[in-house]
Amino acid sequence: MNWTWFHKLSSPPHFHRFARRWTPWMECAAAALVVYGLIGGLILAPPDYQQGEVYRIIYVHVPAAWLSLALYSGMAVAGLIVLIWRVKLAECALISIAPVGASFTALALATGMLWGKPTWGAYWVWDARLTSELVLLFLYLGVIALHGAMSEPRAAARAAALLAVVGWVNVPIVRYSVDWWNSLHQTSSITLLGKPTLDASMLWPLFGMALGLTLFSAANVMRRMQAENVRRNARQRWVREQLEAPHV
């Protein structure tokens, strides 16, 4: 198996060209999928026989919750690469993922609260799922704050990487909290192996929203990485060539 393409991605100029070429397409695909998800979820899908219309919050809550865990896992992998191989681009990835992940974690918590009030009668309960997701938000903010607190970029990235890697233990806790503890939060409607409990008319728009927001997040992280990448390589010739090219 030829891994050259993967190693080339850790080359700053190569990554810059790769990101510059693919992010616009990813954003267009994301927009199309989100529009499909919104039309399917808000208009075409029928109301839920138990929750009525309020269940439609699922179309933003579940993708946001899924992204909060996926982005943290991506950040932890970048952290591992930083700690083990000290790859500069992995540092850029770590720093770029954190704010995007934090924003979607906050969205998952907020939409969960908005769903909880009409469904459980309370915006917040110290339930295992909700509490561990809140801890996840604090971990994201911790990574951002720790990185911001240190002036030397490489030392700051290593410290943030350590917190990101150690904090990953919370991801399976969030994921399996509804199975391990007696939780008010419902169990997963979609599992990798089992049959989904959602009807297809409800399920496909959910996949559209999840995939669309995932593509959007990936493109957004790559855009932030581009900025961090050129900033760190300001004196390299390729940066001058790239930035003075007609489109960045």
Binding site: S103, T111, K117, N220, Q226, A227, V230, L243
Partner: protein
């Protein structure tokens, strides 16, 4: 249409959720562009210093 907007009496919860989602996406778009603007400004300063030196 108004019935659809009412969302079965849960309009405030449903539309607030979708509003927050839109705000999250827009903030991320703005922030990524702000990162690039700041990077460009910083780089231009560095180049000016180097060219001036």
């Amino acid at each position: 249409m108004s019935e659809w907007l009412a969302m079965g009496g849960h309009a405030v919860f449903v539309w607030s959720s979708f509003g927050l989602a839109a705000a999250t996406v827009l903030w991320n778009i703005w922030a990524a562009r702000a990162w690039m603007r700041h990077a460009r400004d910083e780089i231009t300063e560095i180049w000016d210093e180097d060219d001036g030196a």
